[in-house]
């Protein structure tokens, strides 16, 4: 796995034939405790050129929690008879759900990333590239 910045991810995605643009700005403010804080304003657009709305499928979330992994598998370019083809998982929005949920999600993601050597913050490198590196056989 290799992580990419917003701009690197947009460049990689563009190379696949999709249209991808990112406009990111960091704004600073002083919090109630007097500490300087910052937040990112991010506008992004990812779509096929001349995308056809008729070619868009929607799927409800699975009813049972353990089924989520099976659905995730179905969305990846992978089958049991073939290895995972290179693909990007690009987190573009989070922090929308409740405080507890977000805390757990961020903790899991941070554990996942740090266990694979990634020390940068998710907001700085939100895209994860899998199976891209050519490995000497």
């Amino acid at each position: 796995m290799k992580t990419l910045t917003w701009e690197q991810a947009a460049e990689w995605v563009t190379g696949t034939g999709l249209s991808a643009t990112v406009d990111r700005a960091v704004q600073e403010y002083v919090a109630d405790d007097g500490q300087k804080q910052s937040y990112s304003l991010i506008n992004k657009s990812i779509h096929f050129p001349n995308e056809d709305a008729a070619l868009r499928l929607t799927l409800p979330l699975p009813k049972l929690p353990y089924q989520v992994s099976y659905l995730a598998n179905a969305l990846l370019p992978y089958s049991e008879s073939d290895e995972l083809r290179p693909c990007l998982l690009w987190m573009t929005d989070w922090g929308i759900m409740g405080e507890v949920s977000e805390r757990v999600a961020k903790s899991l993601t941070q554990c996942f990333r740090s266990a694979r050597g990634e020390t940068k913050l998710l907001i700085d490198t939100p895209a994860h590239l899998f199976n891209k590196t050519k490995i000497p056989a």
């Binding site: 995730a72 083809r85 290179p86």
Partner: protein
């Protein structure tokens, strides 16, 4: 050769794991294959989307994802 296969398997499980986290917690996450004619998007809206580049890919996903309740959004 064995090393390459093991590494590939690890990457597969890693991708499955990260995408599972995104779906469970309602994060917006794009799945963008390098050599495929589709992309997928997870969100907090309690549904997922798969967008195909052409009709053939769309039909393939309609068939493969039928058991997941795939359809057009009303």
């Amino acid at each position: 050769m064995i090393f390459a296969r093991l590494t590939s398997k690890t990457e597969t499980v890693d991708a499955q794991t990260l995408l599972t986290i995104a779906i469970v917690f309602g994060w917006y996450c794009y799945v963008i294959p390098e050599y495929a004619n589709y992309y997928a998007l997870t969100s907090h809206d309690e549904y997922l989307e798969v967008v195909s580049r052409n009709s053939a890919t769309h039909q393939r996903f309609m068939s493969e994802l039928e058991r997941w309740g795939a359809g057009k959004r009303l």
